[in-house]
């Protein structure tokens, strides 16, 4: 190979890749508005992003998979935890993570900053990114939850859940609200006894929790709900 060929490889390689890259960048720019639902990107969301940057959240947490790897990914935090649980973590990390082997700094955020951050995470949650991350994939939740529900639709626990209106705050597969954590996620982390105990008086187990107490249910009923929630999680990842 002569010097001329070598130079030709250099110029062809560089310019062809550059032209392709710039053309795709123009196209991607055009598609971002739809893929990220930019119509929902209001002033509060932008204010939330500014708080997120000012407090350097991204050097512990990842978001869209980028950042520090020291704390959970926040891409789907809003679906996973719900706004109340996010708010509690931001306001009182020293209480929420009191027993955890890894802590989150108390940032002394103003109420407005907390609300802005929640709005920001809710917007991020809607970004269409080919269903990443896998652990929060709605498609996977749906598959595993459908299986669990198929065998349990007629069960007393499912009926109880309907009666008590759990899904008016909690997420389940692609249903329910995003005020409290999604039920499958609770099932992954907690035991039957813990859930039964929590239902009796949430504020006792987690001070500051906004969930109402379900003390009117019998111990047996609460345990049944616990079993149901734990069973929801068992199929996840298959």
């Amino acid at each position: 190979m002569g010097e001329k060929t070598a130079k030709w490889i250099f110029w062809f390689g560089t310019l062809s890749s550059l032209v392709l890259f710039l053309a795709l960048t123009v196209d991607t720019q055009g598609q971002f508005a739809a893929l990220t639902h930019a119509d929902r990107l209001d002033d509060q969301v932008v204010a939330g992003k500014r708080v997120f940057e000012r407090r350097n959240c991204n050097d512990c947490h990842t978001i869209l998979g980028f950042g520090g790897y020291y704390a959970p990914d926040l891409t789907r935090a809003w679906s996973r935890l719900g706004s109340d649980a996010i708010q509690r973590r931001l306001e009182k990390p020293e209480v929420v993570f009191a027993d955890s082997y890894r802590k989150m700094p108390q940032q002394h955020l103003a109420a407005q900053e907390v609300a802005d951050l929640v709005a920001y995470l809710a917007w991020v949650d809607g970004i269409e990114n080919h269903d990443w991350p896998p652990q929060d994939s709605v498609n996977r939740w749906k598959r595993s939850t459908e299986r669990a529900l198929a065998s349990a639709t007629l069960s007393p626990a499912a009926a109880l859940m309907q009666q008590e209106n759990c899904l008016s705050c909690h997420g389940l597969a692609d249903r329910g609200e995003r005020k409290g954590p999604r039920l499958e996620w609770i099932g992954m982390r907690r035991s039957v006894a813990w859930i039964a105990d929590y239902l009796a008086d949430p504020a006792k187990v987690a001070p500051g929790a906004e969930m109402p107490a379900y003390g009117h249910l019998s111990a047996g009923q609460r345990e049944m709900l616990g079993e149901f929630i734990v069973a929801l999680a068992s199929g996840h990842g298959r």
């Binding site: 190979m1 002569g2 010097e3 070598a6 130079k7 490889i9 250099f10 062809f12 390689g13 560089t14 062809s16 890749s17 550059l18 890259f21 795709l24 960048t25 196209d27 991607t28 598609q31 971002f32 893929l35 990220t36 930019a38 990107l41 997120f52 940057e53 407090r55 350097n56 991204n58 050097d59 512990c60 869209l64 998979g65 980028f66 950042g67 520090g68 790897y69 020291y70 959970p72 990914d73 020293e94 993570f97 955890s100 082997y101 890894r102 802590k103 989150m104 700094p105 108390q106 991020v124 970004i127 990114n129 080919h130 990443w132 991350p133 896998p134 652990q135 996977r140 992954m188 999680a233």
Partner: protein
């Protein structure tokens, strides 16, 4: 050394080495955060996030100062003229070092732009830009005045201009997070897999010409091919970061294909170096410089090429993205590609700057430094890799909540920490050795006529 003004490189090397030391100490603290429970009181004052900002910014700063010092050594020798404005080069070092120190202290007090790796606050960004402009102006004027162009110089200048241009994309505030990350990668990816590679290829080619005595025409011909392949695969290869950030689906296959080719230019660099060494006209002395040179091209290939390839395909990356797998690749790649590049250049340039006979130096403790660092970083990267595979399986595939899945990873972070101790020891030995480099004992130099 052929020109007097090349000596400006030395203070740059010294500053770079001191920051390097600080960087690895901060790394130890980060690893400790993973397996220890740091109490709330400490976390409130000095969170992991702050330490990480320091660790990564120190790396970027010292690598850039190393590249700049190397440029100030290389350009006068290539052009055969003195640097256009030697005093400006010193002022630039003072400006950039001061900016760096202010940024680090600022991080501690929460003054940050809050975007990973680009934490330097915007007002300081402008000082960085001024420093970069001083640098480019100085180098460009020197080259244009001399009018003696070589491929090595062209590649170096191209890489440096490319680097400075891309930095600008990291400065604005982006309202849309997806767009933010899209351009964030223009800084991060197009630096490490674009501009930095041009600089690395130029510095390596320069050292090969000087060390092996192989004809410049041969080295420069292959340099063109390397650069063409680096840019062909690297530019569209940016797409491997666009899989999951809300960009269109075509990035999945374009990013996958182009980035799967990214190991090729690195392999070519390895083969070129090997061929030049076999065709060498000079003896391989001092031995340590050669150990560094070969270590660099090999670990560059393994860390950047192989470890990168391992998780670059979208089918795999869906599960590994944003896990400790990235950390594993990041550490070995940066070490092999750029840390060893700078250190190789320091070992090449410092004996020449100091005017040692035959550029021979007393290399004893330097050998220990190299092996402690290299084996330490390798062990560390393997520990991160185990942690990453565990995380991928437990969190991403089984679907365990993050903190549950982190529990078994803590042990592997302790293993990473233990290897980190080797790294810190190696870095201290190396810095000491480089800063107090002595001529080779007389019996060794007597061999040379």
């Amino acid at each position: 050394m052929t020109q007097k003004s090349q000596s400006i490189a030395y203070p740059y090397f010294v500053m770079a080495l001191l920051l390097f030391g600080l960087q690895v100490v901060m790394g130890l603290w980060l690893a400790a955060n993973y397996f220890l429970t740091v109490p709330q009181g400490v976390v409130d004052v000095f969170p992991f996030a702050t330490a990480r900002a320091m660790h990564t910014n120190l790396l970027v700063l010292w690598l850039l100062l190393g590249f700049m010092g190397a440029t100030f050594y290389l350009v006068p020798e290539e052009t055969g003229t003195d640097l256009a404005y030697p005093k400006m080069a010193i002022a630039q070092l003072v400006l950039l070092s001061a900016t760096g120190v202010v940024a680090l202290v600022g991080f501690f007090f929460g003054w940050t732009q809050g975007r990973p790796l680009l934490e330097i606050p915007r007002p300081l960004d402008f000082l960085v830009v001024i420093g970069a402009l001083m640098f480019l102006f100085n180098i460009a004027v020197t080259m244009f005045r001399a009018k003696r162009w070589t491929a090595v110089q062209g590649s170096l200048l191209g890489g440096l201009v490319f680097l400075a241009l891309m930095y600008l994309f990291g400065i604005p505030f982006y309202k849309n997070l997806a767009m933010d990350w899209y351009y964030w990668w223009w800084v991060i990816h197009l630096w490490v897999e674009g501009a930095f590679e041009l600089i690395a290829a130029a510095m390596t080619a320069f050292m090969l010409i000087k060390l092996t005595g192989v004809e410049r025409k041969v080295v420069e011909k292959w340099l063109y091919v390397e650069l063409g392949l680096f840019l062909f695969t690297g530019i569209v290869g940016t797409g491997h970061h666009y899989y999951w950030l809300g960009a269109p689906a075509y990035w999945l296959w374009l990013g996958g294909i182009f980035s799967a080719l990214e190991p090729l230019p690195i392999m070519l660099m390895l083969v070129d170096t090997w061929r030049d060494i076999k065709a060498r006209k000079e003896p391989m002395r001092p031995r340590l410089t050669w150990v560094y040179l070969i270590g660099m091209v090999v670990i560059h290939f393994v860390g950047a090429g192989l470890f990168g390839f391992a998780h670059t395909l979208p089918q795999i990356n869906y599960y590994t993205h944003g896990s400790q797998v990235t950390v594993s690749h990041g550490h070995l790649a940066f070490f092999g590609a750029y840390v060893l590049l700078n250190l190789t250049f320091f070992y090449f340039a410092i004996p020449r700057l100091k005017g040692f006979a035959g550029a021979r130096y007393d290399e004893r403790s330097g050998q220990a430094g190299f092996w402690l660092m290299s084996l330490g970083v390798l062990g560390m990267s393997l520990a991160f890799a185990v942690a990453g595979v565990l995380q991928t399986y437990l969190e991403r595939i089984q679907g365990q909540p993050y903190m549950l899945a982190q529990q078994p990873i803590r042990f592997w972070m302790l293993v990473a920490f233990a290897h980190g101790l080797l790294v810190v020891a190696g870095v201290i030995v190396t810095i000491r050795h480089l800063l107090t480099l002595k001529p080779a004992p007389p019996e060794a130099t007597a061999v040379a006529p």
